[in-house]
Assembly symmetry: C2
Homo-oligomer: 819 residues x 2
């Protein structure tokens, strides 16, 4: 099997089609010539890879006899065969070769497996290098540990077939496809010595998020950042279909990759020995290219966009498995995707087939008497923290440094009398972020899809500009705010930004992402996956806490003058609420000072996804800084200045969450007060949304006692909510007074409207809220001799007020005194 260096890999001919290569694999063809490995190195490298492949098979099939030291019997086979072989040999091949280059060049490298169900190809080498057993001592490096390692795989209570958080060295699960390059880019930011190897599955490469994330090369600054080495693994098939990229011509594929700004090196074939030579030569070239670009940039201090190297690795799907089964092609076919040989427990022929296949890796040459990998093979893996399963960057909480924080109180605005001045809520936050940035120029970044200025956060550019490595024009100097060392990352892809931020956080840094509310839904699924990742991490004692993902949702539903209906969607919160209470936090600060207080809290927190909802436009200001801090610390509270129930049970509780709803609710209080002065109103404002949920459901939840003391046990509650109204019911359905809770919120009514019109259409406006109160407080009838007359006065006021703002309020004319 070992091959001498006289049999070099052939050169890829640019005009050849994928088909010509893929349908008839054989000796390697590669862009980079050369045979850097000695025959001994080829043999050992191949042995290490055989060991990986053997382990992958063991994980899928075996519950006993882990080293095949006795003939394979049905009782050695797992009851249910689960797991995926298809992509595993390719991943293990890459991992094995990366080990070589890490050792050779002392590279600081982490590994990300983009292809779905790639765990068997990663867990194998992680186990062989010893990092698995260090974290999970019961999966020891001996026969007994090996068996446990096999049995837990895809087994109830065990580990999954993706690179889940349980996988040492993984910060990218690959359960949902498409995010490997953006995660890799985030990990490489501000880690100048790191190379992130990112394997892109050819199935994954069809997803939108992956397709646009080839652009990451326009965001990696060779002076300051590490590098990403993408390895597009074309094994040709998804679950049941060929992949698109595996069936285009070599010309098209190469043009595409060059067009996205990479320099692709091809390694194609199936013959292991020539493939080992080709892969080794290519990886040496890639690392040299990366080092050269970095050297050039760092020695000159001038950042530029290198045409970074990448690899296209074309191998058969299920590489090294049997060529066929029952006359159907297996290796190099979609049939190798999952469990290539089924029914092995009951079918003796199949069992024999499996046994022969497993023996083809010659485990007896790979493991010693105790069942550990032989020392000369283990020596092929790096040691200590250079092992990719033990690299500190991949357990980022351990390398994280706390943010140095300026005092957020100094960025507040003066509010002498609540509700009398206006300010843009987001603008001072921009100033605060500017100074947070100033103090943390190596581990803090701000992300936004071309909306940082639109979202009024542009003060941040005074500290650090928009990251821009492409060409600039003379006119960019006038307000373009572009710089190659900018730390504000803008691209019109919420997917890419979210992925970059996740990668940045998971490697121990901090960040802040602002985006338009309606389009937060673009990353619903990414949020879900990140929340799930954090949830599982919480169950793993060895995973250190990373910084929270801070998401500012702005340009909100209630002011979309010309954007209209498409931009009206406050439903991201409903998605967030479904995720584990251990990792989700939602805040709706109503004004500048409360937003600053909340943002400060979020930036300092760990392990959460913090969602902050705040509109960017001019809004009334309510809270002085001291009041804001007190209010936000409690998360929910009575606003005494808007309440007149001092010490007594009120007639009604009016509650609000969000800026516009708070304004309308306060205006309703004002309208009511003018006519019904002795109506006892308690005004409650909610900043921390989870306060509404019982404390048994969410750690922030109020106890029933506290909830009842705020919301009473039997008085009507009129709640003006920023989002869809039923969300509040979902949080509060267990509360004593839920039957008297009446919520107003966005009800999917809108088009091109003024804010007041929009409020009216969705019945969250001051008039509707006032009417809601009148309709629900029978005592109003007794609030004076002329209650009905007061009601008429109110009615006229409402109509006139609306008219003044150009809004017709026809139904107001039909309001009837309800008693």
């Amino acid at each position: 099997m070992p091959l001498s260096s006289e049999t070099p890999a052939a050169k890829v001919k640019p005009k050849e089609t994928g088909a010509a290569l893929l349908s008839a694999f054989g000796r390697a063809r590669a862009t980079v010539p050369g045979n850097p490995l000695s025959p001994d190195e080829v043999a050992k490298t191949h042995a290490f890879w055989r060991a990986c492949n053997y382990l992958a098979l063991g994980m899928i099939y075996l519950k006993a006899n882990p080293l095949l030291r006795e003939p394979l019997k049905p009782e050695h086979i797992k009851e249910r065969l689960l797991g995926h072989w298809g992509t595993s040999p390719g991943l293990a091949f890459i991992y094995t070769h990366l080990n070589r280059v890490i050792r050779r060049e002392d590279v600081d490298m982490i590994f990300m497996a983009g292809p779905g169900h790639g765990a068997p190809g990663v867990l194998g080498p992680v186990y062989l290098e010893g990092s698995y057993s260090e974290i999970y001592p019961d999966k020891s490096e001996d026969e007994e540990g090996l068996l446990r390692f096999f049995k837990q795989f895809s087994f109830p209570g065990g580990i999954g077939s993706h690179c889940t958080p349980e996988t040492p060295g993984s910060i990218h699960e690959g359960g949902e496809l498409g995010y490997v390059l953006s995660h890799a880019c985030g990990a490489a930011f501000d880690n100048p010595d790191l190379i992130v190897s990112a394997v892109v599955g050819d199935g994954e490469s069809e997803t939108g998020p992956l397709a646009t994330s080839w652009h990451i090369n326009k965001f990696l600054n060779p002076v300051r950042d590490g590098a990403v080495l993408p390895i597009l693994h074309l094994n040709g098939y998804k679950i049941n279909n060929p992949t698109l990229w595996a069936r285009v011509s070599h010309e098209e594929l190469e043009a595409f990759l060059r067009g996205t700004g990479w320099t692709p090196y091809f390694v194609e074939g199936s013959d292991p020995d020539t493939m080992h030579q080709a892969m080794a030569a290519t990886l040496d070239q890639c690392v040299a290219d990366i080092r050269e670009a970095q050297r050039e940039a760092r020695s000159s201090g001038k950042a530029f966009r290198p045409r970074w190297p990448m690899i296209v690795l074309r191998t058969p799907k299920g590489w090294t498995c049997p060529g066929d089964v029952d006359g159907h092609k297996l290796e190099g076919s979609w049939r190798a995707h999952q469990v290539p040989l089924a029914d092995v427990k009951k079918n003796p022929d199949r069992l024999q087939h499996l046994e022969a296949w497993m023996h083809s890796y010659r485990p007896e040459e790979l493991f010693d008497a105790t069942g550990a990998i032989r020392a000369e093979l283990k020596a092929l893996a790096p040691t200590g923290l250079r092992r990719m399963g033990a690299n500190p960057h991949a357990n980022g909480g351990n390398v994280k440094k706390a943010l140095r924080m300026p005092d957020f109180r100094e960025y507040g605005i003066k509010v002498e009398k609540p509700g009398t001045t206006e300010a843009e809520n987001c603008r001072p936050l921009g100033v605060f972020l500017r100074d947070v940035m100033k103090e943390n120029m190596h581990n803090f970044r701000v992300f936004g899809p071309d909306e940082t200025t639109s979202n009024k956060l542009q003060a941040i550019y005074e500290t650090s500009r928009k990251l821009w490595l492409e060409e600039t024009f003379p006119e960019d100097a006038d307000g373009g705010e572009l710089a190659p060392d900018g730390r504000v990352v803008e691209m019109l892809s919420e997917h890419t930004l979210e992925g970059m931020l996740e990668g940045y956080l998971l490697t121990g840094r901090h960040g802040f992402f602002s985006t338009y509310e309606a389009f937060a839904h673009v990353i619903d699924s990414m949020f879900n996956q990140h929340a799930k990742w954090l949830t599982i991490c919480n169950q793993l004692p060895w995973r250190a806490e990373v910084a929270s993902l801070n998401l500012l949702i702005t340009s909100t539903v209630w002011r979309q003058d010309h954007n209209g209906f498409t931009h009206q969607d406050p439903g991201f919160l409903d998605v967030v609420l479904n995720k584990s209470a251990t990792v989700t936090r939602i805040y709706l600060p109503p004004d500048v000072n409360s937003l600053l207080s909340v943002a400060n809290h979020c930036l300092k927190s760990e392990g959460y996804v913090n969602v902050i909802v705040s509109d960017k436009q001019m809004h009334l200001q309510y809270l002085s800084m001291d009041a804001a801090v007190t209010h936000c610390t409690k998360g929910i509270g009575i606003w005494p200045q808007a309440s007149n129930d001092q010490g007594e049970v009120p007639d009604v509780v009016i509650a609000s969450a969000g800026d516009i709803p708070t304004k309308e609710a306060l205006a309703a209080v004002d309208l009511l007060r003018q006519e019904f002065a002795d109506l006892k109103i308690r005004f409650v404002n909610v900043v921390d949304l989870f306060k509404l949920q019982p404390d048994t459901e969410h750690p922030h939840g109020l106890s029933d006692k506290d909830f009842d003391s705020l919301f009473t046990i039997d008085k009507p509650i009129i709640f003006a909510f920023h989002g869809y109204p039923w969300l509040i019911h979902r949080l509060t359905y267990r509360r004593t007074n839920h039957r008297n809770l009446h919520v107003r919120g966005y009800k999917e009514k809108g088009n091109i409207n003024t804010p007041l019109e929009l409020a009216i259409q969705n019945q969250i406006d001051r008039f509707t809220l006032a009417m809601d109160v009148i309709n629900r407080v029978p005592r109003l009838q007794a609030t004076g001799a002329h209650a009905k007359e007061k009601f008429r006065n109110l009615q006229i006021k409402c109509i006139n007020y609306a008219h003044e703002y150009g809004v017709d309020l026809p139904e107001a004319r039909d309001w009837k005194w309800p008693y």
Copy 2:
């Protein structure tokens, strides 16, 4: 201004960078040589475009003096300036030139504006061609109508700045970016004579969904389908940033586009006259290329993948606006994105600046005395149904043909005794879809992200295979199911498939999309936008109803043996519920026959998004076909065989929605029945989820009376739900008996588990449900002398049963008789 044909457009030099072109615009450079327009044609074409640009400005600025027949005064200017100029001239330029080619070649063409806020550039030519006034007669083709047309734009109660449903000829709003190519592809499917012009914004081109949708050329069959003509409009800037593609070298951009399989023709410059020549020559070339590819394929009957033509149109942002304002660059800068000259109402200099700019289009030469466009210019637009604002394909409901439907009852399975046989729920649906396909081989398609077989729908391939136009290998013949005329569209991009399906439906056809439940979240935002589109269409009498979007959500949360936590997410339903009740429908058929009945109903329906949740695995069967039809028609009902409350008020209502929850709930009934034979249980199953909501909220909702008669007004209800449990509370919080409703569902607890374990972790299992009943029905204490003993028996049974399935049920040992 008119230019003679002696001044040809220059040839694009491949090595030149974007920067060289964009920073210093001037005479056109183009890939295609030639000057096909006579000087008179240039002059007229230019005049038509000037009229478009004038209208765009009028929409943004004017509320009086629409034809500038008197000097411009502050009172002519709108109070608030909203709308986007930046992309408009480019869109109008394209539209104007498409008009020419439509007339010249009698092309059947529709137009899609991908760039955000493009409406002013589209509404202008749609108004000029007369199709606007036909639909909206008050926006007549005279001065008065023109003024109304101006005033409504971005005005409260008027129309938005995207190509909203109110826009004649639009089936693509462009409010959320990224979907123009997939929409265009869907529209072109099975419309062999149609060319869909799809303008891709360079901002939009950074999104993931757009980036992968360049692949649509691998799905357009030149024999059977129409063509998509992408026009990448590089105007260089987003809101505040340069775009990535506008700043790479010509070489990279061209390589990228060729790599994605297109033949790009470049048209670059700012000088109008040479640009008119270049664009005309290029469009002639593109239409010729398209026709040639189609001729070749159709004459031979052999489908292949042409390297379809596309256009890269590089023009300045805000083209033809003033070059600068207050010393800052305006034309060709991000400053031209929205309203280029602000403050015109109060600042007399600005007003004058605006007036001069508007006069630069010489409106007096464009409109006649009545205010209509001059006849010789109007003659440049096509007439009748060839006008892109009047093309029937863009109001698809009018060209829709009803599906021919086989009798779904014939695809059912025999269910003699409920709960005794098992079947894979999705498999017979595949057979049914196969025959629906057979009857509708020109207007029905099935979509799935590489999961059609995984989702057990593969019978469909017997009628039509997977659409595949790339290379095939010999081994594909063995089970590959690939064919160039396949009608099953598979690509690993939920975005692209959803976009194709939307485009297909909006042009009057029918379709069915199946996808993994957890990853339906990938298209949350697309669903939102489509639901919003349908909601607005319902308010427009001229929009004919299109077929519903049918989405089968499968591979559900409750069975994810090795996929694990990442694949457990039933939250798409929460997203659906937020959208308008007029367009949303959700079904959870529990077995084969009910799934068939529901699918049949959905395929025949119009105007909705139908979401069907059904797992693909083996499940118990409950309903005979007759019973299924009756049950699904009602949408909710008592299952008498599982109930023993005949004619009486029960002790408890046990309810379920979804396959696994129904199984567990029925098993709980069985467990309870064994020990507490006289406990009166009513079993209610919900197929149509919106039945739970009040009829005031959703047209499917039960009246309170009907709800109360099913769920009682005071008995405990134990509800086993497929999704997140609080969703049921959200639907029912207004119901009389809501306080006694106890819901079990998925609570974000999971990893690698057996279905029973997963159910137990989330407390939706039979044991927990039985305990829930015992804990809530005090009467149980009186159900016999030995109630406590019966409870002990039940406890032992539960523990033993769980043990039998390999699940430990430790908490069962702690169960206490609660009375």
